[in-house]
Structures are given as C-alpha cells and as structure tokens.
C-alpha cells in the first residue's frame, strides 16, 4: 500500500504549497506573537526585558504568583504553611513584630512545597528577620517524600533559580490568561486578586456566616472515636516512625542564623479534624509533634501548639469548616502569636500550649 498521488499540474502544486505556507505562517505567527505577549507582559515578573509596568497579583494561583513577591525583596519576613495560615494578615503581623511580613502560605501546600518556598526566600532575600511556619498534618505525613506536590501541580521552574529554564515553561494557556488579566488590570477591567504581601481572604464574607450551616459542615462525615483504630503502637514502634518532611524542616532551620526569629506554630484546626485521643493517629501525631519540638529546641525556635482540644477549637462558631477559622479569629491568633513568641506568654484560656520558648 503506497500512496502516490497522480501527477499534479503546476497550479495544484502551488495551491498545496500555499496551504503549507499559510498553515506554517499562522502557526508560527500565533506561537511567536503569544510568546512575545507573555514575555513582555511577564505576569510572573521573571523576564529581565519585560515592559516596566506595575505587576499586581491578578491570579489566585498562589504557587505561580508568590515567587515574584519574594523576588521583589519588599519583605524581610515570611509565613509559610497551608490555608490554615493564609488568614494571618501581614499588616497585623508587621505591627506586632515590627518587620515586613509576606504571607506565602499556599492552599493545600505540601511540606515540600513550603520548604521550597523557604529556600527561594533565603536564596533571594537572605535569612528572614522572622519566619512563621504554620504546621499542619502535611509535616507529619509519613509519605511526604512521595506526595511532594498536589494535583494542582507545582511550577518548580519558578523556584529553582535557573535563569534559562523559565523560558521553556512560559508558553502555556494559564500564563497567557494571567498576562491578559494584567492588561485588563491596567485598563481598569480587572482587579487585583491577592494583595501584594500575599494576603487573601479566601473564606466567604463574614456577613454570610451561618452557624447552623457551619456546624453541619464541620461535623458531616466525622467518624466517632469508637470507629477509629485504637493506638496499637508500642513506644518502640513510635520511635521507628519516619516523618520525611521533618528532615526538610531541620535543614531549613539549620540555614537560618540565630538572629532570625523562628516560630513553629501548630495551627488551630477544629477538634473534629484532630485525631481523637487514644487512637493510632493521635499516637502518631503526638510522636511527630515531639520531634518537631526537638527540632525547635535545637535551633532556638519558639514552638506554639494550637492543634489541641481547647475553647478555641471546640467552638463551632469560630469556624467555617473543620480546617478554616473565621477572619476575626485570625486577628486574635496573630496577637496570641506575638504574645507567645515575643513575650513568652502562656495562653490565658488554654487555647494554645507554649511548647518551646
């Protein structure tokens, strides 16, 4: 089977040649045009020859947008963590700690993603004056070295410091869309999506809070402690547990000088999201916490634990769902954080435990 078209006349050949020329012209034109548009608009602020325009955060893709906040060098301190730390307002923290904070906590961030953000900050800005690590279960994930990123993907080319690699990754629909939004911002058609210090209120407005709905959301699907595995781990088994992310935490803190104020804070998820005491999961978490405390002590960090059953975490009215507290709670947490970290003050109502000071 061999396809050999009949001999074509000269005009037909010219027509087919024209077809190929048009196809390639349109394709190359589109690719070059779109790529130039992206390079000039430079929505991630990484291209040295891009247009000198004001680049706001016009996308909620935190993993893509936050590196430019670091590279701007406008901030000397940072918060890393997951969505449980995102509501800590840098303006409030600045007032309490007297530094310039960026909140670079990312939704569902894995420990590896958080560690990568810290690496970028230290490499670009230098050791932070203050570092707040909002700790969640991801740091105690026993498969953290396998679950390094989430389904959202992670643009490591924005973090690795390689000046050339980024050019291979900029040509894509997501970047084009953000570049177009930037144009929209300058034409007053589109607003800033995240404040330039990384702060974003991602929960609904307070006016929409419905305590009944919140209660239902918090407790839906929660298994009673009787359904959960009892703690079968002996002391020796607990010591054999491996938490790969804690090596990253250790290495990250080892790079910081003693002048950096480091706060390791177990963030206050609702008690419904915490493993019930006496269960296997609670045993694993306790072991993980004790190792984090040891790391904190080793590097002179302050370690604060809100991830306990307390008046704060047992009150449904403080939460939208099991993981996310309300905005006024965030302000209260920032104040407690500064009181504990700077003044060594214990909690008055038992909301937190000051594990290392």
């Amino acid at each position: 089977m061999l396809w050999r078209p009949a001999k074509s006349d000269a005009s037909k050949t010219a027509d087919w040649r024209g077809f190929v020329s048009l196809f390639l012209t349109v394709l190359i034109g589109c690719v070059v045009g779109v790529y130039l548009f992206i390079l000039l608009l430079d929505p991630y602020d990484i291209v040295p020859f891009s247009l000198p325009i004001d680049r706001r955060i016009v996308s909620i893709s935190d993993r893509f947008m936050y590196p430019q906040i670091v590279r701007s060098k406008r901030f000397d301190s940072l918060v890393i963590g997951t969505s449980t730390s995102r509501l800590l307002d840098p303006e409030v923290l600045d007032r309490l700690f007297h530094v310039r904070f960026a909140n670079l906590a990312m939704s569902s961030a894995t420990a590896w993603e958080q560690k990568t953000m810290l690496d970028l900050f230290v490499r670009t800005v230098g050791p932070p004056k203050a570092l707040i690590v909002g700790l969640d279960g991801v740091w105690c994930d026993q498969r953290a070295d396998y679950n390094r990123i989430t389904f959202r993907g992670f643009p490591d080319w924005l973090y690795d410091g390689n000046p050339w690699k980024k050019y291979l990754y900029l040509f894509n629909y997501g970047t084009l869309e953000i570049a177009a939004r930037l144009v929209g911002y300058h034409l007053n058609l589109y607003g800033e999506r995240i404040r330039y210090d990384g702060y974003e209120v991602f929960v609904p407005p307070e006016s929409q809070y419905d305590p009944v709905r919140a209660h239902d959301t918090i407790w839906r699907g929660v298994r009673p402690p009787s359904d959960q595995l009892p703690q079968p781990l002996a002391a020796q088994e607990l010591t054999q547990l491996s938490f790969p992310a804690l090596q990253w935490l250790d290495a990250g803190l080892a790079r910081l000088p003693s002048t950096s104020l480091t706060v390791l804070a177990f963030m206050p998820v609702h008690v419904a999201a915490q493993p019930p005491p006496g269960t296997r999961d609670a045993g694993i978490e306790t072991e993980c916490k004790s190792r984090i405390v040891a790391i904190g002590r080793k590097y002179g960090a302050k370690v604060i634990d809100w991830r306990i059953a307390s008046p704060l975490t047992q009150n449904d009215a403080n939460y939208w769902d099991r993981l996310h507290y309300r905005v006024p709670i965030a302000t209260h947490l920032a104040e407690e954080l500064s009181a504990a970290a700077l003044a060594g003050r214990e909690s008055e109502d038992g909301s937190y435990l000051l594990l290392v000071h």
Partner: protein, 456 residues
C-alpha cells in the same frame, strides 16, 4: 519524547524535517537522518533503552543473513525465539512467575524489570519479517533500511504495526517527488487532528476515568458513575490511541512516508467482525496473517474456526498486557466473533441499528474488563452497569461525553483524510494552524500525559 509535547512540535519535528529535506538527494543520508532522529526520539526517555531494539534488530538481521547464506531454517527459528524471549522476559516474566506462584502455592522471586517502551510493537515487526522469510516472502534488505523499517520513530512506540514490504520500498523514493506539498499539507492536518483529539478530549476524559475506576476498587459504583466510567474510558481509549496513530501517520507523511491505516471509526461498527476491521487494523491484520490463518482460519470447519479465533484473540489480549483480565478481554472478543460468525451463517441479517447497539454494549463490557485492575473490580462495575451496585447516581460529564461521541463518530480517519483531500482550502490551513497553536498552549500547562498504548 511525546508527539504532543511542545518540544516535539516546535523543535524536534521541524529540525528533523529540515535536516531530512536538506539531504533529500542522497538516499543514504536520508536514511541515516531518520535513524538518528529515531534513536534520539526513543532514547529521550532513557538512553539505555536504545540498546534493546538495536540489539534485536542486529540479531534478527544477522540471523536472516545466515538463513540466506546457509539455506537452513534454523537461524530464522532462533530469531523468532530470541524476539519472543526478549518480549517474554521484559513483559511477561513477572506475570508468569505470579501465575505459577498462585498455582503451586510457593512464593517466587520477581524480576521487576522495567518494560522498555514499544517492545511489543518492534518485536512483532521483527517476528513478522522472520516469518515472511520462512515463507519466502521477504528479501534480505541492507542493514540500514532494515534498521530504519523497525526504528522509524513515528511508528516505533505504538504502531501502526508496519510490514517490511509496506515501508522499505518507500525509503528509496525521493521525498521531493510529485505531491511533496500535498503530502506535507495533509501530514500537518492529520497531525493536528490527532493533537487536538489527544489534548482536548482524551486527556480530559482521563481525569474522569481514573478516579472512578480507582473508586471502584474501594466500593461498588452507582449506576450513573458506572456508565460514566465505562463510556468515558471507551472514548478515551479510542481517542487516545487513534490520536497517537494520526500524529504518527501525519509525522511520517511529512517525511514522505505513508504508514498504514489503524482505525476507521470503530464505534460505528454494526457487528463485532466489523469492529475488528475498524479497530487497531494493523494489529488485526498481523494476527490474521501470522496466527489466525496458520491456525486454520475459517476454512477447516466450524470447530477449527472457533478454536483458531479463541486462541488468536486470547493471545491478542495477552499482547495488550501481562494480566489475566487482558486474556479474558481477548477471549470475550473471541466469543463475540464466533457468535457473530454463527449468526451470519444463518443468513438472517440483523437491522443495522440493533446490530450497532448490541455491538457497542458488547464492546463496552469488554472495555470494563480491559481497564479494571482485577476481575473483582470488573465484576463490580459490570454489576453496577445493570443497576446492581450502589443506589442512585446519574450520568456525569454529559457534555464531554457527547463531544467525545461526536468526535469518535464524525472525525474521519487518517486515510479517509488522505484519500479525500483533493483540493487545498486556505480556511482549513488557517483553522488547523490556530487549533495546533491552541493545543500547544494547553499542553504547556502541565507535563504532557503519556499515551495509554505506551504501556503495551
């Protein structure tokens, strides 16, 4: 390297084509150019993998040469055995050990060998050449075109399975011969069709299929989820594999080479025999010529026909994957072919619509077996499909499924495009280029998703 990656479309293919046409006047240089491009393409995953196809090619060629010189069949038999041994070792060793372990009840060690990509395809091509030598239907080719026949990168990883006499004579043809621009134009169009099917439909269907089949491992799906999973996988498999084929045929056409047809809108088939004349045609032809007919085919009575069909289709299943679910899928189709044969012998034609509906239900049930991780999961999904699973549920992703159905039914196959393209339309060129640019933008968002058939 993946056909739909930005690197392939924007760098590798243009560079290889420019180099190829810059040396087009020399047959030898052209062939070396394609061999080198193919080795780079194949070695892109892991350069060490190149050793395996190159070794199998060299061994096969030397044994064919030995047969030529001695006139004895033994070197050819050794060649077939060597290729089967390679395929068996890399693809089936752990499966054989696992099956033996289940039978004898003794724990056996596993080899855990990495499956070299495309091994099933290039091993089959080499075996077909050796068998043709035995039949006196294959000449001795010089090593260079012989190696290129197997290595040619558009078909190396996942077909179409090409026979030596379909491809090797084309290597002598000057790619600048009459019809050059027509071939390149049609190659670009076919490639773009495959590109769009893969990026815009197959990969999106994959995001529906994977979680549902994963969920089915944990508990029974409801009726809606079971139908969503089954339909989505059926369309995903066709769109993914036919997209690969189209990108392969399109790429080869740009080099002036024509690869055989592999799909002809199989979901329009009105009986199961018709389905296999439309689905993975190059594999069907291979199995027909090298297995089914030597086993007796349909000319030695009904029972011999049934036996030949069941053996052929059972092995067809095993070729797809080292697992009993694949064998069962093959036997299921063997049963369907035998029943179809029986019905057609009765001489009572079935209404087309009814035939189509029965065929599609049969094929869908087979795909559940093909995709499921175990017989248990397949049984659970099949039970859910008839309402014996979890209660409730409704069909999801209806728009996507509808779009996939329309694409499966309406988009002409690569060779339908080749044969139907009489006049160039500028609008087609412009729209095709815009579609290709859009696909390039979409594929740049994440790492390109591998093709399903790469695992076979």
């Amino acid at each position: 390297m993946l056909f739909q990656s930005q690197f392939y479309v924007l760098v590798f293919l243009p560079a290889a084509a420019m180099l190829y046409y810059s040396v087009a006047s020399s047959e030898r240089a052209r062939q070396w150019c394609l061999i080198c491009a193919s080795l780079v393409f194949y070695g892109w995953w892991d350069a060490r993998f190149v050793i395996l196809p190159v070794s199998q090619i060299l061994a096969t060629w030397l044994l064919a040469l030995a047969h030529q010189r001695t006139g004895r069949r033994a070197p050819l038999i050794v060649g077939v055995a060597l290729n089967l041994l390679s395929l068996g070792t890399f693809k089936y060793l752990d499966f054989i050990l696992g099956s033996a372990e289940t039978t004898i009840g003794i724990v056996l060690p596993r080899a855990h060998l990495v499956l070299p990509i495309g091994i099933s395809f290039f091993s089959f091509q080499l075996i077909s050449y050796l068998v043709d030598r035995m039949r006196g239907e294959a000449p001795i080719y010089p090593l260079r075109p012989f190696a290129l026949f197997v290595l040619l990168y558009p078909h190396l990883i996942a077909g179409p399975i090409v026979r030596h006499n379909e491809l090797v004579p084309q290597f002598s043809l000057d790619p600048r011969r009459d019809g050059l621009w027509q071939r390149i134009a049609i190659g670009l169009v076919i490639f773009t069709v495959g590109f769009a099917k893969k990026v815009l439909l197959a990969d999106k269907l994959g995001t529906v299929v994977d979680p549902l089949f994963a969920e089915a491992r944990l508990h029974a799906l409801n009726l809606g989820d079971a139908w969503t999973a089954t339909l989505a996988f059926s369309f995903q498999l066709f769109l993914d594999f036919s997209a690969y084929t189209e990108m392969a045929i399109g790429s080869a056409l740009i080099f002036g080479l024509v690869l055989p047809e592999n799909f002809r809108r199989p979901y329009l088939a009105t009986d199961i025999r018709d389905f296999w004349r439309r689905w993975h045609i190059s594999l069907s032809n291979f199995l027909r010529d090298y297995l089914y007919i030597p086993l007796g085919g349909s000319r030695r009575g009904l029972w011999r026909y049934v036996l030949a069909t069941m053996i052929t289709m059972g092995l067809c299943g095993l070729w797809h994957g080292a697992g009993w679910t694949f064998v069962a899928w093959g036997l299921w189709h063997g049963l369907g072919l035998a029943m179809c044969h029986g019905w057609q012998r009765l001489g009572r034609p079935m209404p087309k619509l009814l035939g189509w509906a029965i065929t599609m239900l049969f094929v869908l049930a087979g795909w559940v077996l093909f995709r499921a991780a175990s017989f248990g999961v397949a049984g659970s999904i099949l039970a859910s499909l008839v309402g014996l699973g979890a209660p409730g549920g409704a069909l999801q992703e209806i728009k996507l499924l509808l779009l996939a159905a329309l694409a499966s039914a309406l988009i002409p196959s690569a060779h339908e495009i080749i044969n139907g393209a009489k006049t160039p339309h500028p609008a087609v060129a412009a729209v095709g280029a815009l579609l290709a640019a859009y696909c390039l933008l979409i594929v740049g968002e994440n790492a390109p998703v591998s093709f399903i058939y790469f695992q076979f």
